[in-house]
Symmetry: C2
Subunit: 349 residues, 2 copies
């Protein structure tokens, strides 16, 4: 049988696991110091003394969160780990150990699954993460990937959603909207043009802000989260958790020139609602912002203030200002579900 | 809308999460001491000082591992946690924190998802486990449940698969075959009879052997695993990991009288290959077995020696003896995949 024709159903579960192990970098494959990785009932990891364990889990489902004709396997492996690394970054923690549940139909090319782990392995190696096992199950109609990632952080000091205080600036890192714009390009909603590649890359291979998360932690920032569902879905989570309201100046939300150029009628919507940017959203007392901004620029991160935390009236509210007008975010944004949805992209907006 | 008609798609993700939290016992819902549970980017857990973290993950997929017309939601919630607790038991560890990835079509009754968490919550409370969050995703064609469970164990002392030594007895807890027999009853392969209820319960609500796992650990046992895939699939994993072979006396494998009575032609096959019994398989030096057996009986566990570890020749081999005959297990058993498969049950054996 031709190597490229080999499908998951043609090899045993053990054979598949052996192949996957073989493509992982050494540092990703094995826990150090006699600890157990892939191959027993469970993996074992010794956290650094005095640190608390940070636990996050995120799943990607075929035709909901990704399409196999829009992504390559290595990018998918990168992304399944990146979305979890982003949560660890948003806690100000250091990632350490991942497990992966692979749901496979059996029809996947074995080379594709190897590429998936090469993509995940390269990102894991870059952030000193061990992939310590998981589960392979049959998934009747599509690929499902569920990653659980453990990190560690100094006890009592993680970046939380419930620490926003009146007067804090609301700040985002990087630019917003590129990932949703990349997804729209796949959906054929506009011609791609020269700058489309960057947007597609932003969607397929998001870059979790771990260095920035650690910098925020070291600088004493206490309130942050990652932007996975879109600014207008995610900021309300901070407001509700902290019992505050916010006013955001929409015209200050940073949007890349490529998004504005390719989506002249939709760039603002993509930036506010798009999601999957995996930038960090934080609040910080105004007096400390400028120092933080300069410090962040040293690790290549831009920080942009977009609004301010204010007292809440009866409920937490998010007020948007633009062109001298003011309006409140539809409360539906508070319960908007999930990440950017491939199905939504397919049926348009 | 009638309460019973309410479907997952009718409520928002946040509403669903609130409802799920509300049905969990207090001890299961919240981490103690200011640690974070459901509701931030990640959960935080402070392990006991000096303990190592034990990590396991197992997924259950609709129409592969369960059928919604064969189980009730509460039993499914019990089982999704039980299969992971069993892995922690097999390490001699104590379970502490779980996360759950729920893949839902949207058509599930909200009351069913609440019942799922009631079932998981009751088992979690019984074993002092906190459910600290997870992810809810859309699953296009069926329910997928992926649980990651963290436990803790004294550093360097977990029960492992690679510790079987020549001369050790091969020992199983409880009886084997009841779960596979219960599954066969659902598939209508025999009439159920009076004793069928116990077998069905063994399949739907397995009882993870945590007390026994801890007892083995305290008694200095070093080699154990849980029986999830069936004795003749699981024992080879110990043999390969430990670099040994084994001889098993098939007539000594403990099988419950109900399985023998209802499946006169198949009870042996169910016991050897059936899987999902979630009993423990261990090896122990013969001189220590009798004391261990008596000690285990004090926590209500029976231990039965079924064979012996021997040196391997070129490869690890498993030799079965019965009725004076000897035969080797089909090496295919070494790569037999997964848990008892509902699809296999449907197409018969």
């Amino acid at each position: 049988m031709d190597r490229d024709d080999l499908r998951v159903r043609d090899v045993g579960e053990f054979d598949l696991i052996d192949r996957v192990r073989a493509v992982l970098p050494d540092s990703v494959r094995a826990l150090r110091g006699g600890e157990l990785g892939i191959g027993d009932d469970a993996a074992i990891w010794q956290p650094t003394g005095g640190k608390a364990v940070v636990i996050t889990t995120d799943a990607l489902v075929e035709n909901v969160h990704f399409r196999l004709d829009w992504t390559d396997w290595a990018s998918l492996g990168h992304k399944m780990l990146a979305v979890n690394l982003s949560d660890i970054a948003a806690m100000g923690a250091r990632p350490r150990v991942a497990t992966v549940v692979l749901g496979l139909t059996g029809n996947e090319p074995v080379g594709g699954i190897e590429a998936l782990y090469r993509g995940a392995g390269a990102l894991a190696a870059a952030h000193d993460v061990v992939i310590a096992g998981g589960d392979v199950v049959k998934s009747p109609t599509g690929v499902t990937l569920a990653v659980t990632l453990l990190g560690e952080v100094a006890q009592g000091r993680a970046l939380r959603r419930d620490k926003a205080r009146r007067g804090d600036l609301v700040v985002v890192s990087g630019t917003l909207g590129a990932s949703a714009a990349g997804l729209a390009l796949f959906a054929g909603q506009v011609d791609q043009g020269a700058s489309g590649g960057l947007l597609v890359a932003a969607h397929l291979r998001p870059n979790p802000r771990l260095a920035l998360g650690n910098l925020l932690f070291d600088a004493g920032v206490t309130c942050a989260m990652d932007l996975s569902d879109g600014l207008l879905s995610d900021l309300p989570k901070i407001l509700v958790a902290s019992g505050v309201s916010a006013v955001v100046d929409v015209d200050r939300v940073p949007v890349s020139p490529s998004v504005r150029a390719l989506f002249p009628d939709r760039w603002r919507e993509l930036a506010l609602y798009g999601g999957e940017d995996y930038e960090l959203l934080l609040t910080v007392p105004e007096a400390r912002f400028e120092g933080l901004r300069q410090h962040a620029s040293e690790v290549g991160a831009t920080l942009t203030p977009i609004g301010r935390i204010v007292d809440r009236a009866r409920d937490s509210r998010l007020e948007l200002r633009t062109d001298g007008k003011t309006f409140e975010v539809d409360p539906g944004a508070f319960t908007r579900s999930g990440r950017v949805n491939v199905e939504d992209a397919l049926i348009g907006e």
